[in-house]
């Protein structure tokens, strides 16, 4: 089967799920349910492509297929930021009530953290992937412990408010945030589009990429910034879905078996729309809201992550 056919199948599936989600049991309710569902689909689409794109880019510039920004501590940082806001300013502070401020603070803190952290970690040479993974896990656990420590200290009523921020959920996506987030994501895509072919060359390794005239170190910096912004925006929009990027990126590598980033990234984006919209439909109509999508994704993704780790250690050992 050629890659073009595969892509059409995926796109067909994605469209089918979107239609299913929007129109299933709508019962002609075009005034209330219809715009709400559209908004949710839009949020899922934006989050999905932001995560898919940033994960593939991140994995190409760091030359690995296991680590993602979320696994490397960014999700834990998001939780810590929200906890700190509740801890120091309380649930009635402007940083909680005004979603724009909250969004801005969370995104900028995550971008700054990612830039400093990744620059130190991926600066020179190739470090063993297990070392990087260990560092990511330790940083994640460290941030997580501080978060837990602060959470047990705050008022239980405040904690209830905080709790809703801790799990990714499309049920309470704030429509005020979709537009700023959408604009950032679209701008990032337009910028990233021009570097698509350079990413192909980068996957040949640093020396070959420089030989072929790619300004490697500069491009790594820019792509790290781009990928941090996208992942920060999507996390701030719906909350942390740690293993999601990992699943869609790796499924895309396996399904398309190509070096071309235009195909890999498009594939990962369409797959994430299928997973999010299809998964959310299951959650809402089949499980009738008894669980959340992020729980399912993290369960499936966690298992897949362990599988990838075992595979990697077997091939390198």
């Amino acid at each position: 089967m050629r890659n073009r056919t595969r892509m059409f199948i995926l796109i067909g599936l994605a469209v089918a799920f979107v239609l299913l989600y929007v129109f299933y049991q709508l019962n002609g309710n075009y005034h209330y349910a219809f715009p709400r569902r559209l908004m949710k689909v839009l949020a899922m689409g934006l989050t999905g492509i932001a995560i898919a794109y940033s994960t593939v880019v991140f994995q190409t510039i760091t030359h690995n297929r296991i680590l993602t920004p979320s696994v490397m501590g960014l999700d834990s940082l998001y939780m810590l930021i929200q906890t700190l806001i509740y801890f120091f300013f309380g649930s009635i502070s402007i940083l909680v009530i005004n979603v724009h401020y909250n969004f801005l603070v969370a995104v900028s803190a995550m971008v700054v953290f990612a830039l400093i952290f990744y620059r130190v970690l991926f600066k020179e040479g190739k470090r063993p992937i297990h070392f990087l993974l260990l560092v990511g896990m330790i940083v994640g656990t460290f941030l997580g412990s501080i978060t837990t420590f602060l959470q047990v200290l705050i008022d239980p009523n405040e904690f209830l408010g905080l709790q809703s921020k801790m799990f990714a959920s499309f049920n309470n996506v704030n429509s005020d945030l979709i537009w700023p987030a959408g604009i950032i994501i679209v701008l990032a895509f337009i910028y990233g589009w021009r570097h698509m072919h350079q990413l192909d060359v980068m996957s040949l390794g640093r020396d070959t990429a420089i030989n072929l005239g790619v300004p490697y170190d500069k491009l790594v910096q820019r792509m790290l910034i781009l990928s941090s912004i996208l992942i920060a925006v999507s996390t701030a929009l719906v909350g942390p879905i740690t293993f999601f990027g990992l699943i869609v990126a790796n499924l895309s590598y396996q399904y398309f078996k190509t070096y071309k980033h235009s195909i890999l990234i498009a594939g990962a984006c369409v797959m994430s729309i299928i997973a999010l919209v299809g998964g959310q439909w299951l959650v809402e109509r089949i499980f009738s809201f008894n669980t959340t999508l992020s729980v399912i994704i993290n369960f499936v993704g966690g298992v897949y992550f362990i599988y990838l780790l075992l595979k990697e250690s077997r091939s390198s050992g």
């Binding site: 190409t60 030359h63 690995n64 297929r65 190739k126 698509m196 072919h197 350079q198 192909d200 060359v201 996957s203 040949l204 390794g205 640093r206 020396d207 070959t208 420089i210 030989n211 072929l212 005239g213 790619v214 300004p215 078996k257 070096y259």
Partner: protein, 253 residues
Amino acid sequence: MIQVKEITKFFGKKPVVQDVSVDIASGKITSFIGPNGAGKSTLLSMVSRLLNADTGEVLLDKADVRRWKSDDFAKRVSILKQSNFMNVRLTIRELVSFGRFPYSKGNLKPEDEEKVDEAILYMNLQEIQHNYLDELSGGQRQRAFIAMVIAQDTEYILLDEPLNNLDMKHSVQIMKILRKLVDELGKTVVIVLHDINFASVYSDHIVALKDGRVVRNGPTNDIINSHALKEIYDMDIPVQEQDGCRICVYFNS
């Protein structure tokens, strides 16, 4: 014209290349030889801007290599390192097509395809051009990478130990191709070699390094003699002449 001017490179506190100045002669094969750890590969990496020198400069057409725009430089100078780690699975033809990247920026035009065909033909890879790199033997892989560099069509071709892990037959094959590139297409080849006899038989010019410094630099015949070799390798190496080639018999010295 490539000129290396007083470059020095430290790895940590250890100087790996010290105060090296070399002019690379155009239209010739220049070999970098010397014992392990002499700084040959590091020097080559700095010439090809894979590494930045700590002090000193490398000039291509009188302009510092760090000032060159990456893709303009890639149209003039190509470099092939010894280990080519890759995360992706490519066929030979896909790899060779990457050699056109400085020109095509990823969208191959008919003239790019033509150059790719030529390079594949030059390296005699047309039969296996759709095979994946990980299915190839070491010699075929090396030829595929050299084909990529040929497709890149640069005036200067720099190679870091291209004979590593190759048997005699493939080593000779590759050296003959490099000779052809210089004699027929007028390229300039700079090559790091471990085997002194390949350097002796195939190169026009030899730069000998030891402990990060240039100890000898001159035409091949000035370097391949017992006196100079003693200075470079600290070994008494008899040199014998056979069919006009100087062969160093170092095996029991």
